[in-house]
Symmetry: C2
Subunit: 155 residues, 2 copies
């Protein structure tokens, strides 16, 4: 029920040596306020989910449910606030840890960062050398912020 996640910028392409999966993610947000719960509809291939996340940085409540793909398409087409986010998510295996690298497309072309999900807030994660500055506490890297403020407009 809780997601504990840290986010980092990426300093090189070396993560590409350890890719073990790749998927295209399309998602949109039903809400616009980053200070409150975010409600996300996500599509991967022909599967879809609705996810409620509490506001927060490192640790957030998360409730995730499968929904019918056609419903998700309709919600993304007609209810989503802001821009639809398109990204490729790569999973990278480093020792026993899985990093996720998100490479954004469309209006967010050029944006990329890595995430790692942890089991405890104080878990020690050995960081590979392609991991750069931590942005866990930078609200611009929230999915819901990105949906409202495409990367092409960032300063």
């Amino acid at each position: 029920m809780f997601e504990i996640e840290r986010k980092f910028l990426i300093t090189s392409d070396k993560w590409r040596d350890s890719i073990f999966s790749k998927q295209r993610i399309t998602q949109g947000y039903m809400t616009v306020d980053n200070e409150i719960n975010s409600i996300r509809v996500r599509v991967i291939d022909k599967e879809a989910w609705i996810t409620v996340k509490s506001a927060g940085e490192l640790k957030r409540q998360e409730y995730d449910y499968r929904i019918p793909y056609p419903d998700a398409c309709k919600m993304l087409a007609s209810l989503a606030r802001g821009n639809i986010i398109e990204k490729i998510r790569y999973r990278i295996l480093i020792g026993e840890f899985i990093f996720e690298v998100d490479i954004f497309e469309g209006v967010n072309e050029g944006l990329c960062f890595a995430e790692i999900e942890m089991t405890r807030e104080d878990e020690i994660i050995p960081l590979p050398d392609w991991i750069g500055e931590e942005v866990t506490h930078d609200h611009r890297y929230y999915g819901s912020y990105i949906g409202q403020n495409p990367y092409i407009n960032w300063e």
Copy 2:
């Protein structure tokens, strides 16, 4: 996928003669803005749903999914914005039409209204004589508004 619904005030207790079902509904909203989609978590007995509705008056998109009861309780306890709404919903059979009468409790004690769901926006519904003023277009009767603005504070 669309809900077409009219709302009315109630002028007498005569609807009580035609009750055919009664249920207690507990619900809360994950969002606070009535201008955008509302995301509602609802519990009836030990069953629970999450519902996304587009903003609108008479006709709204609606997507409704069953979710685990314990999840719903946690979301209502820790993520809901504003007040939790408690009401008794009575279903009233009038000819071939089903009216729903909602009697609110707690901070909304005294609030009650009737709803009827229609299959078309121009459907002709014969209104029983206990039906009063139509409030379909009055935003105060939105569930999400009621959650933010309890009836005890209405002017």
